[in-house]
């Protein structure tokens, strides 16, 4: 999927200083092309999550601006699935459509379609507590996908699941990305995950966060699990890790 169709998100001169005087981000310039999968990596507290929240509009930047070619159609996926335990799988998948005042019939149809895409068809009437951790995260993804977003913001969505589930979910995330065709911005501190998923990895410095490297990941999509054990893959994770270490020094 190399169908970069112009710039989707353009981040210009973003800085963030909290009222406590802590400077989280300084002079971030980044432009993300339509349909790209861009990952932000950096040490804990470097402001990468804050940057994602600024792009979403959940946090206000102190300076700079974010513009989007198709504003108002972004979805946000959190580190925890953030489901409503009193709602069935189907009703959870419809939640955001409900908040966006989509008509009930269309809501049902779009939610069912998303559940099919993440492999949760047949679980519509279950409650979240009956699902495994991986299935809950897939439901959380389905809830966002149902919006048919052009931009998906992912804040360490796979950090809380075990290694095996994580690798499975990475493949599903890529499959969703190529099936739905959204632009993805992912935050993670896992270098392997960043290289495996993205076509670009942005490396950030410790606080105040700045961009220290913008690394192209040239592997073609679709990618398969074996990619992780190739020399070229090891080389690129090495490059990203070195950039991270350089940023620390």
């Amino acid at each position: 999927m190399d169908s970069s169709t112009g710039t989707d998100v353009s981040i210009a001169g973003i800085s963030k200083e909290y009222s406590t005087g802590v400077r989280a981000l300084e002079g971030i310039d980044l432009s993300v092309g339509g349909g790209e999968f861009v990952t932000l990596v950096g040490p804990s507290g470097c402001g990468k999550s804050t940057l994602l929240r600024i792009v979403a509009g959940l946090v206000e930047a102190t300076a700079g601006r974010v513009s989007s070619s198709r504003p108002g159609n972004a979805a946000f996926v959190f580190q925890e699935p953030a489901l409503l335990p009193w709602r069935t799988v189907q009703a959870n998948a419809e939640l955001l459509l409900e908040l966006d005042h989509v008509a009930p019939a269309e809501r049902r149809e779009r939610a069912s379609e998303s559940l099919r895409l993440v492999g949760l068809a047949g679980f519509e009437d279950s409650y979240p507590h009956r699902l495994s951790g991986g299935m809950r995260m897939r439901l959380s993804l389905a809830r966002s996908i149902a919006l048919r977003p052009n931009l998906l913001l992912l804040d360490e969505p796979l950090a809380a699941v075990d290694e095996l589930t994580r690798e499975g979910l990475q493949d599903e995330l890529l499959a969703l990305w190529s099936a739905v065709g959204f632009t993805a911005m992912l935050v993670t501190h896992n270098v392997t995950e960043a290289v495996y998923l993205s076509n670009r990895v942005i490396v950030m410095s410790p606080r105040p966060g700045r961009i220290v490297a913008d690394i192209e990941i040239p592997f073609t999509f679709p990618r398969a699990a074996e990619l992780r054990s190739t020399a070229a893959f090891a080389h690129l994770t090495g490059v990203v890790s070195a950039a991270l270490r350089g940023a620390h020094a």
Partner: protein, 261 residues
């Protein structure tokens, strides 16, 4: 399965048998001839049987008063908690007084309520209401405040209004805590009703358990007094059980504590 339930039921039943036996023995020895102080279990059973109609009427009267006070406390309590959670400023301004009001002994205020609202069951309901109110406010507010921040952000991201967020997200999130408050208040509402009846009760031969208890005490009908105390205890207990059971039913699909059983 059968054995397990027998093992569960046997110990409390054994304790009850031992207690009644000890009570029986005490009335036959220490309190022999002083049934006006401690009547024997059989005297109490006889008082129960002989006044079954009166006790049942009184119990139903108290239940009705407690229930009205309780339901009013649920409506008002959840509304106040929602209002307080609406704005930090509002909470800062009002919450200290809510706590202060909570420390006012209801027993001390009850005569004032009767003075304002008269010697009727309306006053009893109001006292029961006041008694039930605070656990519901406190617990609901706690629940509303502990709604997941991510979910609040998600609702914000999709431009959900505060009312939509309250109804769709916060109140359901708070349900386990609200129900914990409702359990506490179930017992309190019965206590409130009986306290209210004490105040309005003297000289009144009809009325709830509180009225009957004062009446029995005034005439030294100690066995009847015991029977009525037992009826009041059972009433509070059953009320609590009914609220717990409905709560578990509501939560059965989603809350860990209700699910795992």
């Amino acid at each position: 399965m059968r054995n397990a339930s027998v093992l569960q039921i046997a110990p409390p039943v054994a304790v009850a048998v031992i207690l009644v036996a000890a009570w029986s023995l005490a009335t036959a020895t220490i309190f022999a001839g002083r049934g006006y102080l401690v009547p024997s279990p059989s005297d109490v059973a006889a008082a129960f049987a002989g006044n079954a109609g009166t006790i049942l009427d009184a119990t139903l009267t108290t239940l009705r008063e407690a229930f009205v006070g309780y339901v009013a406390a649920i409506v008002v309590g959840v509304a106040i908690a929602s209002l307080l959670s609406y704005s930090r400023t509002l909470e800062r301004g009002l919450y200290p007084y809510a706590v202060l009001l909570q420390t006012v002994p209801v027993v001390a205020v009850a005569p004032l309520i009767v003075l304002w609202f008269g010697y009727g069951d309306g006053s009893v309901m109001i006292i029961s209401f006041i008694m039930s109110l605070f656990p519901i406010i406190n617990n609901t507010l706690l629940g509303l405040r502990s709604t997941s921040h991510n979910l609040i952000d998600l609702f914000k991201l999709h431009h959900a209004g505060r009312l939509v967020t309250l109804v769709t997200l916060q109140l359901p999130s708070a349900l386990p805590q609200t129900l914990a408050g409702l359990r506490i208040s179930a017992g309190l509402s019965v206590i409130g009703a009986i306290v209210g009846e004490f105040i309005i009760g003297s000289g009144n031969t009809r009325g709830g358990l509180g009225v009957q208890i004062i009446f029995a005490q005034g005439r030294m009908f100690t066995a009847l007094l015991f029977a009525e105390v037992i009826a009041a205890t059972l009433l509070g207990f059953c009320f609590f059980l009914a609220v717990s059971a409905s709560g578990d039913r509501l939560l059965r699909n989603w809350h860990e504590s209700a699910v795992s059983e």
